[in-house]
């Protein structure tokens, strides 16, 4: 590069740095009452915490595990030091927002706008604000960890030493950054304390394995039994999910006429017929979750293969030689067959332990063979995130 050009660029850099410096030096923020209250609370908490951490730190040094403390201090202190700073770390929504609102040179304009919108506070408050400067400057170190690098992405970036400017911008506007984040939290309607691990988990785990066991009825309650299902559920957006499964049902019951007859019960040599109906089915289901996610309603298709020992046409007649004993004459059996149908289910969330959920489920299904199967039971769900 030509030496003259180099000189010119250096001069430009210096002028640019000076202009930024001049603007930043005189920069002071006047936070609103609401904002100030929040900041004040945080500062008080932080002071108490500092004393505690100091003692812990001393203890740790004496024990010779200062290094561990250093690591954990970073991990523990960051999320709890200030609600405004911790929320962007734990909540992807805010994190994304903070990334988009890094303190670039455009931030200046935002701060100016903010200055205009925020009402002027009393002199005593002003003093209080700047008595806390030393604390805030320290806090800015945390902020700078996150917002060091992407400060400027203008075309001039290549020709100027941005590192110095970054530091100046960050150190000059620690409160500005905090307040922006607080404001954004408020705008997004997110209370830092309300951002619980549960809600974060809900966002992280978008898939789950389900294991459902039900007490079930076949027909109009003639046969009772169980229905067991293994399934895989995937969330589609916030309120919808798709659930695929394979299920097995076992229903059984005695032949009702002869088993209800007192004479046949007295005669132990003879038994009523036992009818067993069993089936394998799959029912891809679309779920819609409630706003809170504790209730979900599903509807889907059913493809079912069923085998049954229940005759479709039969008669019962008394045995001529032994009165009181009934004999069953089977005329026609139901064939083993495939059928299609629909299934509706409702699930109520009961409890969660770590990644495992327990729910109460009700279902109703009907198919082309005319079979109606109903059931209620428990659903055990293990949430996970797809590994790459």
């Amino acid at each position: 590069m030509h030496p003259y050009l180099k000189k010119l660029l250096n001069m430009e850099n210096k002028i640019f740095e000076h202009s930024i410096e001049n603007r930043m030096v005189g920069f002071k923020l006047k936070p609103a009452d609401l904002v100030w209250e929040k900041v004040e609370k945080r500062i008080q908490k932080e002071k108490k915490r500092r004393v505690l951490f100091g003692w812990i730190f001393l203890g740790m040094v004496m024990a010779g595990v200062g290094i561990t403390f250093f690591n954990s201090h970073e991990n523990e202190f960051q999320p709890t030091s200030s609600s405004a700073i911790s929320t962007p770390i734990s909540n992807p929504k805010i994190e994304a927002y903070v990334e988009n609102h890094q303190p670039s040179f455009d931030t200046e304009n935002e701060l100016n706008q903010l200055q205009q919108t925020v009402p002027i506070v009393s002199e005593s408050r002003k003093k209080q604000v700047f008595q806390q400067d030393d604390i805030d400057v320290e806090r800015s170190n945390f902020v700078s960890n996150e917002i060091d690098h992407p400060v400027s992405h203008t075309p001039q970036e290549n020709s100027i030493n941005t590192a110095n400017i970054d530091r100046k911008v960050v150190s000059a506007k620690p409160q500005g950054v905090d307040i922006i984040i607080i404001r954004e939290c408020e705008e997004l309607g997110i209370n830092s304390s309300a951002v619980s691990s549960e809600s974060v988990n809900k966002n992280i785990f978008d898939r789950q394995w389900n294991f459902n066991t039900h007490y079930s009825f076949h027909g109009t309650g003639d046969l009772s039994g169980t229905y067991i299902e293994f399934g895989y559920e995937k969330k589609l957006g916030k309120r919808y999910g798709f659930y695929n499964n394979i299920g097995m049902s076992i229903h059984s019951g005695k032949e009702s006429f002869s088993s209800n007859n007192n004479a046949s019960q007295l005669n132990a040599r003879y038994n009523a017929m036992q009818y067993v109906t069993t089936g394998i089915q799959t029912s891809p289901t679309f779920y819609r979750y409630s706003k809170r996610g504790d209730v979900k309603i599903g509807a889907g298709m059913v493809a079912r293969y069923q085998t049954s020992s229940t005759p479709s046409r039969y008669s019962i007649s008394p045995q001529p030689a032994t009165p009181g004993i009934f004999l069953t004459s089977i005329r026609e059996m139901e064939p083993n067959s495939f059928s299609l149908g629909y299934k509706i289910s409702v699930e109520l969330h009961l409890l969660s332990i770590k990644k495992t959920d327990l729910g109460f489920q009700l279902f109703f299904q009907n198919d082309t063979r005319g079979d109606v199967i109903t059931g209620f039971g428990l659903s055990l769900q293990n949430k996970f995130k797809k590994q790459d």
């Binding site: 010779g64 394995w209 076992i250 394998i280 085998t307 005759p311 004459s329 089977i330 059996m333 590994q387």
Partner: protein, 233 residues
């Protein structure tokens, strides 16, 4: 003064040594944590099954989870479902030809009773890997609940009643003994043979034989589809 500075140096050296040792330990523990993730597999088996006691065929479906516990051993826990059905063999022996009987009694109709047996079972199986995981040999206890329509003692009768014009026929079943529901314990033996593997998915041919305290003997032959994964801490 010299002594003091010497002791200071020693103390400094000790502290630095402790820190270095601690850091090394920490690094080691992280490494060992990373290595210690056991291989896990989740899978579904499906196949044909034969209920040897009742001489009826059917299918089995099983969902299982396998955890590698050592180089040669893995523990396979599962939850399975069996479904068998077949028609009563006595019926066809007693009524050889329905059409010939219908010539004499056009209103005659009969059907063989279908025996349906369904069971739910679990059998934690210990697999021994042979030939570098190509073949796996497994043994384990079995807990099974079964419901059946198969009577262990029954009569099937073809009764003919001659009238003045023709002979009337009808059939009936008389059930003498039946064990409707049974909860039994037993054992199961399995052989898994590697068939194919694509990325995390593996297909294996599976063969099993089980015996339980109810006297039921079930043989199964099917395919097992497994997906391997690593459980993150």
């Amino acid at each position: 003064m010299k002594k003091r500075s010497c002791s200071k140096k020693i103390l400094k050296g000790m502290i630095l040594g402790m820190i270095a040792a601690f850091l090394q330990l920490q690094g080691y523990s992280q490494k060992s944590k990373a290595v210690r993730f056991p291989e896990r597999k989740i899978g579904l088996s499906i196949g044909f099954s034969h209920h040897q006691k009742q001489s009826i065929g059917g299918v089995f479906i099983e969902a299982g989870h396998e955890v590698k516990i050592s180089k040669k051993l893995s523990l396979y826990n599962n939850f399975g479902f069996t479904m068998h059905s077949g028609i009563d063999p006595k019926h066809d022996m007693v009524v050889p030809s329905i059409s010939s009987l219908r010539l004499q009694d056009p209103s005659f109709s009969t059907a063989a009773f279908r025996f349906v047996t369904a069971g739910i079972q679990t059998s934690p199986t210990l697999f021994l890997k042979l030939k570098s995981d190509k073949i796996k040999l497994g043994f384990g206890p079995l807990l099974r609940y079964q419901t059946t329509s198969w009577p262990s003692d029954y009569e099937f009768n073809l009764i003919s009643t001659p009238t003045t014009t023709r002979t009337l026929y009808y059939t009936n079943y008389s059930i003498k003994q039946i064990q409707r529901h049974a909860l039994s314990g037993g054992g199961r033996m399995m052989i898994d043979v590697h068939v194919a593997k694509i990325k995390k998915f593996e297909a294996r041919a599976t063969c099993s034989y089980q015996v339980d305290s109810n006297g039921d003997r079930l043989a199964g032959l099917g395919i097992k589809l497994q997906r391997s994964y690593v459980k993150l801490p």
